[in-house]
């Protein structure tokens, strides 16, 4: 144990080596002791040291002129004052009770700040606390997390921006369902390949101006991935690897006004309802890469849909008979986009009686002259 030697002089002053008495470091235990040498003229056999701190005061009895620096003192870092007391009777309630008391002038002492009890959270730990606590206005998925499990942050209650870093490779079903996110940011270079079914379903608090930019790496889009979400627009990055939609891929997206499928898109799988129940969806743009026939049930129950744009040289059988509100201009533009199939097998473009009633046989002749059978 280290001895801090202090001499108590008869003139009331304490002498020691350092400018201040260094009692130790915060949280130390029994590392140092105060060893007093007391001037012979100082009377009394009952001796104490008084410790005074802004947050506490203690009076400790000194035995054989030695006192181990108490843990109550080392518990409080900062500036202390100490005073040596010698009396011929006990001190009670900080008051000498005998007929003699020596009380030295207070001297400065210090307990240094320690780091043992410091508990500063890492940045990632703070992020996680914010996420788990539902208090973050930005939910930044930590970079150590590359796979997001099912229901991970479903029904997250804070209005936040969700930031998905480039190393995320997987987002499980329902992962963010029902969250009050206002934006979703896929950071540049993200390598995610699959957006599982229902993963972003029922996000009803997305900002109306928000445009979802789907990373080019996404090649799989589950049913209802954004179902019932308040997405105003979806843009697929150039080079998108997405080639198909399953049933209910775009379902009940009540704010979606326009949808442009990426170049290279091949078609819709499943029995129907692929793009359905989107109440304000007015325009769909389909690239000429379509290969799988579009059946009547694929695009249904979109009452505001007036415009379907076919990529130039369109060469795929399509049935839009359940899109009964197409405009005459849209239909004419479709005919203009059809690939000329003369010299090869005819293909069918079905529009249904409601749509055919809006155009003339002259309009239809544009398509039939390219060997398309219009119905």
């Amino acid at each position: 144990m280290y001895d801090i030697k202090i001499k108590a002089n008869a003139n009331g002053r304490l002498e020691y080596e350092d400018p201040v008495v260094r009692l130790g470091t915060e949280d130390e235990l029994s590392r140092a002791r105060l060893v007093f040498s007391v001037d012979d003229s100082i009377e009394g056999a009952i001796r104490y040291v008084k410790f005074k701190h802004a947050k506490a005061t203690y009076l400790y009895r000194v035995t054989n002129d030695v006192l181990v620096v108490p843990t109550t003192v080392t518990k409080l870092s900062g500036r202390w004052f100490i005073s040596f007391i010698s009396s011929n009777n006990v001190v009670t309630n900080n008051v000498p009770t005998g007929s003699y008391a020596f009380i030295s002038e207070p001297v400065e002492a210090v307990v240094s700040d320690g780091i043992l009890s410091a508990n500063t959270q890492s940045e990632e730990s703070q992020l996680l606390c914010g996420i788990i606590g539902g208090t973050a206005d930005k939910v930044v998925i930590p970079t150590s997390v590359t796979r997001i499990r099912e229901y991970c942050l479903s029904y997250y209650q804070a209005f936040a921006t969700l930031i998905l870093h480039p190393d995320i490779s997987y987002i499980g079903s329902h992962a963010f369902e029902g969250g009050k996110f206002q934006r979703i940011e896929f950071q540049e270079g993200i390598a995610i390949t699959s957006i599982q079914e229902y993963s972003f379903q029922r996000m009803e608090n997305l900002a109306s101006s928000y445009v979802l930019k789907v990373p080019e790496s996404v090649s799989s889009w589950g049913r209802n991935a954004f179902g019932s979400s308040n997405l105003g627009a979806i843009k697929f990055e150039e080079g998108s690897k997405l080639t198909t939609f399953v049933s209910y891929a775009i379902f009940n997206m009540t704010a979606l006004k326009e949808l442009e499928l990426p170049a290279g898109f091949l078609g819709f799988t499943g029995n129907g309802q692929t793009i359905s129940s989107c109440s304000v969806l007015a325009k769909i743009i389909l690239p000429n890469s379509f290969t799988y026939a579009i059946i009547a049930g694929h695009i249904v129950d979109n009452p505001s849909l007036t415009d379907i744009v076919l990529g130039s040289n369109w060469n795929c059988v399509a049935n839009f008979s359940k899109c009964t509100n197409l405009s005459a201009d849209s239909i004419r533009a479709m005919f203009a986009s059809l690939k000329n199939l003369t010299g090869s097998s005819a293909k069918a473009l079905t529009l249904g009686s409601d749509n055919l009633a809006k155009i003339t046989t002259t309009d239809i002749a544009v398509a039939t002259a390219k060997n398309w059978t219009v119905s």
């Binding site: 026939a293 009547a296 079905t350 390219k370 060997n371 219009v374 119905s375």
Partner: protein
């Protein structure tokens, strides 16, 4: 002018080539033939929609 054909009441056209269902009125492509189509009951074309959860 386009070569127009109408199906009998309650029926629609179906392609014999690829099974595509059309509607009850067709305007044949310039090199297409009505022989490539047959008339089927309109109910046959009702799609088997998947039920959503």
């Amino acid at each position: 002018m386009p070569n127009k054909h109408e199906a009998e009441p309650g029926k629609i056209f179906k392609s014999k080539i690829d099974g595509t269902y059309l509607s009850n009125v067709i305007y044949l492509g310039c090199e297409d033939s009505i022989d490539n189509y047959e008339q089927v009951d309109a109910s046959e074309a009702e799609e088997l929609y998947e039920e959503e959860e």
